[in-house]
Amino acid sequence: MIEERTGTISDPTRARYEAVIGIECHVELKTVSKMFCGCPNVFGSPPNTNVCPVCLALPGALPVPNAKAIEAIVRAGLAFGAAIPEHAKFDRKNYFYPDMPKNYQISQYDMPLTVGGVVRYWLEDGTRGECRLTRIHLEEDTGKSSHASADGRLAGATSSLVDFNRAGVPLMECVGEPDLRSAEEAVAFLESLARTFRELGVSDVKMEEGSLRCDANVSVRLRGATEYGTKAEIKNMNSFRSARRAIESEIERQIAVLESGGRVIQETRGWDEAAGVTHSQRSKEEAHDYRYFPDPDLVPLDSPPAAVETVRATLVETPYDRYVRYVDRFGIASKQATQLVDDGALSGWFDRAANASGQALAAANFVLGDLSRLANESGTPVADGKVTPAALAELVQLTQSKAIGSSAAKQVLEILWAEGGSAKTIVEREGLAQVSDRGAVAVLVAEVLAANPKVVADYRGGKTNVLGFLTGAVMKASRGKANPSLAQELLREHLDQK
């Protein structure tokens, strides 16, 4: 971590201001083919191999929309409670750029596929929030330019190359309302979007492959003010971490400008990851006139209510709703709940185990504790391992009913991981049932006390914390089977008799 704060703004000054942030992000859809042609939508192919007359914009080629991409946007919108207007259309956004083959992008201007909706999110500490969506619309991605210069930038390049494999990949643009008030909230919003898109299967949301790219509109104002300040649009944030740093840096920059008596100007600023600052790229006066107009090559998009309901019927619980269920109903801590939610397969597996056991919290502790450790050590995900949710549920029940102790439970889990099968059968086979018979445990307690006269003397001399050591010794003598609370109770009885 280089620097999280520029250090130029004192905390009391910082505290007088409030940031207002709105996020726009572009997410590549995970479809089989591109948006307007049949070329494969895959990442990492050799340059200019997934191309055809349509996505190269050869003379005479025409776009035909990918119905799966349209459905994906409708699903995404519905997941956030957006309205799906009956009529939508594609428009052309006109501007020249070498990696955009037609020199216009097919996008949606005033009649997007989805309108409104709310993204609910949670912060690391469990605080919850929500941010309204303006719209989600569908468009096409551009190709990728690479420049033959020392630093790979256009400036000073002697020539440039373009790879059109990405040109025409379906791209979902999500526009959020300026409801976010900190970099943390902005990142939590993005994470919630990303989780939902993954859950819906509409995108892989791989930032390193550029399948999620976001811009942030940032302004600051004095706390209590009702008018928005002048905003700057921050571009080129390539990870959640860089989004957090960029927004934080921009907030500080704007406060510094205002504090020094200056004025924030409306402009586009690029985030410089290495330098940790934003740079001015383009002011509003230089803004493009995109000359949007309805694309005459495409017919209007109709979403009849019945078709929308068919899609809605396929929706499942959103990651946010799952998180809330885990925390509010199951009592799982926020961090653990997040861990579960972020691993879709694990979370599904956990839900089955939690249902079968009726002990969600205990099941969560196993899943995120010993079971995840075993999974990490072996490299096999929990959901792909030999432990079935039913077997874990049994184990949870055996533990909760104190039929076996915690160290026995650990052993059973290891055997289950290696062999599969039923927890009960293993407990019986290995003789791991917890010993709760007072007489049997009392024999062991007597043995341990006899063998440790010095420790007994220490206890009686006031060092009562040696009780743990003595309990451990009883457990060890029982090969882990003694009921530890019974052992402790009996130890105390003996030790406290003078």
Binding site: A57, G60, A61, L62, R291, F293
Partner: protein
């Protein structure tokens, strides 16, 4: 059977019957076309080897028992339609070196039907023009007077059929680019309903107006070609998914019971008296065939030209943005990519194309969009509504195809004078209607000595191609105007 002068129907039938072969037809046609084209310059490119290859394929199919509907029929393709492996220029320097790597759907359907491609025909650059003079490469001559234009933009496709240098050809019509040159060249030119024929592979001028259609020397041949190229194409989202009923069968012989609308606002009395007389006589001929002539009104048609010259340039300004020197076609290097764009487009586009890109860019610009583009779209809707109302009172509308016969080269140096040539065809295009021009007589033009062909435009409601072709066939068979004129290229019928 004479493959140079007979109809497509007759040629295909002869090939089907085994009276001749496609290969023989190709060998007869190739030298003949070269001879005629030396005078007319209808073609930008002849494709004899491709023609021979297709002829062999057709003969093999016929030998195998197939009966392709256009077996052995020599066809010409307007050079704004892609044909795999051939140079496809759209009449522009910017595509002077562009070799298409795929074939347009309509062209492919012709070839699949057994047609033999003679070559690619000249056109006004990017189909923008009404005389053919905007071609970056050559001036096509009118086969009925070599000192006059063939009309445009489908200049070469009309001239080739008119000169007997092709049996059929494909053109494209945005505001009249099939109908006007058909009228000038004494042939039938047919623009189907917008969406009937796939635009895939047609280099776009104005996407919401462009439509491919055939030129032929008879309505029946045009119907035959239309039946082959019409129909839904999964590669064109605007192609309509409704069955195109065959039109080349059971064409009627008279017009009894047909109500022909004569448009009040298209009164020809203001035109030269010979032209006015020509159209009046054409209407009388319709009535003589049993048609009932009814006056209809298109009060908004007078806004057609203004509407068209906003919508078409707006779409063209965006459609032609792809010609940037990056991926194909002409590139003129510059210090940076911006300068490369500027130099490439400055050198690659002709003046009319530049004019329309400028008009269109302006019409779509922030602050002008509502006043120009949006208003033009509203006017377009009103024009279409006017036609719909008129069709409550008539089955087909008859009007001039053009306001004059073919004019001389460089006669229309004022762009607006040129635009006015399409006064009667543009409103029909804006409404998306099926429409054709059929020969309706001849007029000695001002300053001319010999009579030049005239065309009658017929337009009917959306998707009524079959009825429209029927009316035109009845008129053509009863009047036989085309046969009264002979091209000066020394070929007689």
């Amino acid at each position: 059977m004479d493959p140079l002068h007979d109809s497509a129907v007759a040629i295909a039938a002869a090939v089907h019957r085994g009276e001749t072969t496609a290969a023989d037809i190709a060998e007869t046609v190739i030298p003949h076309v070269a001879r005629i084209d030396a005078q007319v310059d209808a073609y930008l490119q002849l494709t004899p080897e491709l023609m021979r290859a297709h002829a062999r394929r057709v003969d093999a199919r016929v030998a195998a028992g197939e009966r392709p509907p256009l077996a052995g029929v020599p066809v010409a393709i307007k050079d704004n339609m892609c044909l795999d492996g051939t140079r496809t220029t759209a009449g522009s320097k910017i595509l002077g070196n562009f070799v298409a790597p795929y074939t347009a759907t309509a062209v492919q359907r012709l070839l699949d039907a057994g047609a033999l491609p003679i070559g690619k025909t000249n056109l006004d650059e990017f189909a923008m023009g009404s005389s053919g003079e905007n071609s970056a490469f050559k001036m096509t001559r009118n086969p009925y007077d070599l000192e006059r234009v063939p009309g445009g933009s489908s200049a070469g496709s009309a001239a080739a059929v008119g000169a007997f240098a092709a049996t059929l050809s494909l053109g494209s019509d945005t505001g009249g680019s099939i109908r006007e040159p058909a009228a000038f060249c004494n042939v039938v030119g047919f623009k189907p309903t917008y969406g009937r024929v796939s635009r895939y592979g047609l280099i776009a001028f104005a996407s919401s107006l462009d439509q491919i259609g055939p030129f032929a020397r008879s309505v029946e041949d045009a119907a035959l070609a239309y039946d082959v190229i019409a129909g839904k194409d999964p590669l064109d989202a605007t192609s309509v998914d409704r069955p195109a009923e065959p039109t080349a069968v059971a064409l009627p012989r008279d017009l009894r019971g047909v109500r022909v609308g004569i448009v009040k606002e298209f009164d020809t009395s203001g035109l030269a008296s010979s032209i006015d007389a020509c159209y009046r006589s054409a209407y009388d001929e319709l009535a003589a065939l049993g048609a009932e002539l009814v006056e209809v009104s298109l009060p908004t048609a007078k806004y057609g030209l203004a509407t068209y010259y906003l919508i078409a340039p707006a779409e063209c300004s965006s459609n032609l943005a792809r010609f940037d020197g990056v991926r194909y076609g002409l590139r003129v290097d510059g210090a940076d990519v911006g300068e490369m764009y500027e130099r490439t487009r400055a050198a690659g586009f002709g003046p009319e194309v530049k004019r329309r890109i400028l008009i269109g860019t302006y019409a779509l610009s922030s602050g002008y969009y509502d006043a120009y583009y949006v208003k033009a779209q509203k006017a377009r809707t009103r024009i279409a509504e006017d036609f719909a109302r008129a069709f409550e009172r008539c089955d087909v509308i008859a009007s001039p195809a053009a306001s004059s016969p073919a004019f001389g080269f460089n006669a229309k140096s004022d762009p607006v004078a040129m635009y006015l040539m399409d006064y009667y065809t543009i409103p029909v295009s804006l409404a998306g209607l099926p429409s054709l021009s059929v020969p309706c007589g001849a007029v000695v033009p001002e300053g001319g000595s010999s009579p030049m062909p005239m065309g009658l435009q017929l337009a009917s409601p959306l998707f009524t191609e079959r009825a429209l072709l029927g009316y035109a066939h009845a008129y053509e068979q009863a009047t036989r105007h085309a046969e009264k004129l002979h091209p000066v290229t020394a070929v007689t019928r």
